[in-house]
């Protein structure tokens, strides 16, 4: 795929990619933007190569997921090994970063999602938010279809239990 084609594909996917990056970064907007920037550079510089084995969307979401994981690991190393060691600064708390401002219903859903394990959150996001199939979600997460299905079923059941008393949007 040519660089101009890649750029056009990335531009078409931009808004959905941002939503997925938010999900991978636990709803932190700044981190999501940073991850997305790095993922764009990876693709446009050829460090991440699309080989056509899946759809471009599924492949690029996988790139975003790996980039978010790398960023989180780098940040953890920096925070724990440097800041904590030399400056005695407190660790950056995951809960301290505020998610984007949202309506009341959306914050209920976000809050409910944040109570699920990460993998369950991600499968639910990919299926309900991004309209991917469970099989495509498995491809993005790099797990087997069976594993993705298990995460999906458990996540959905748990999310319903959490949301049942509140009934978002009603």
């Amino acid at each position: 795929m040519e660089a101009t084609d890649l750029r056009r594909e990335l531009e078409l996917l931009h808004r959905d990619s941002f939503g997925w990056a938010l999900s991978c970064c636990r709803q932190r907007k700044d981190d999501a933007e940073e991850v997305l920037q790095t993922a764009y550079i990876k693709v446009l510089d050829g460090r991440a190569k699309f080989e056509g084995r899946s759809s471009f969307r599924t492949w690029f979401f996988g790139v975003i997921r790996r980039t978010a994981y790398e960023q989180r690991r780098r940040r953890w190393l920096r925070d724990t090994l440097l800041a904590r060691w030399f400056a005695g600064q407190p660790l950056r708390s995951d809960e301290s970063a505020a998610p984007p401002e949202t309506g009341a219903d959306s914050s209920l859903l976000r809050s409910a999602l944040s109570r699920l394990p990460e993998r369950q959150q991600q499968v639910l996001h990919l299926v309900f938010y991004q309209d991917l199939t469970v099989e495509e979600a498995a491809g993005v997460l790099g797990v087997s279809l069976g594993t993705a299905r298990t995460h999906f079923d458990r996540g959905k059941r748990r999310l319903r239990q959490i949301l049942a008393p509140q009934e978002v949007g009603r």
Binding site: H14, R15, G19, L36, Y40, T102, L109, Y129, A164, G169
Partner: protein
């Protein structure tokens, strides 16, 4: 208990809200480029080469008189003397440097009172005394 349709609807609302916060693609890509390439490697190489050239020019421009004068190797080797050379000059060193002669003692081996005689003189004096004793 919410069903799949409810979940899809709520997620769709969430999606609309998130997308309102997503910046422009071009803007994000521009910032990504700035972040990824603050200064290209070739620029760093050029700066390093320039610095090296400047240092070389400065070193070459220092006058020769300012540098340490080592001199030619031949002169320096032949004229050089160790500062601790005197420690090697031990008493009786001239014995090793001269060929000894029979009947002569070097000045340094003589006793201060001059009482010590060479073997030849001692022999002479011994024969003289024994003759005198025999005669008496």
């Amino acid at each position: 208990m919410p069903n799949d349709r409810d979940l899809r609807r709520w997620f769709a609302d969430l999606r609309r809200e998130d997308q309102a916060h997503a910046g422009e693609f071009g803007n994000l890509l521009h910032r990504a480029r700035l972040r990824a390439n603050p200064m290209r490697l070739s620029v760093w190489v050029a700066v390093a080469a320039g610095l090296a050239a400047m240092i070389a020019v400065v070193v070459m421009s220092i006058p020769r008189s300012g540098r340490r004068n080592v001199g030619s190797p031949e002169v320096s080797i032949t004229e050089w003397k160790s500062s601790t050379d005197f420690l090697l000059r031990t008493p009786g060193l001239e014995l090793l440097r001269t060929v000894p002669r029979i009947g002569e003692w070097p000045a340094s081996m003589r006793s201060p009172g001059g009482g010590r005689k060479s073997p030849a003189n001692r022999k002479k004096s011994l024969t003289k005394t024994s003759l005198e004793e025999n005669l008496s």
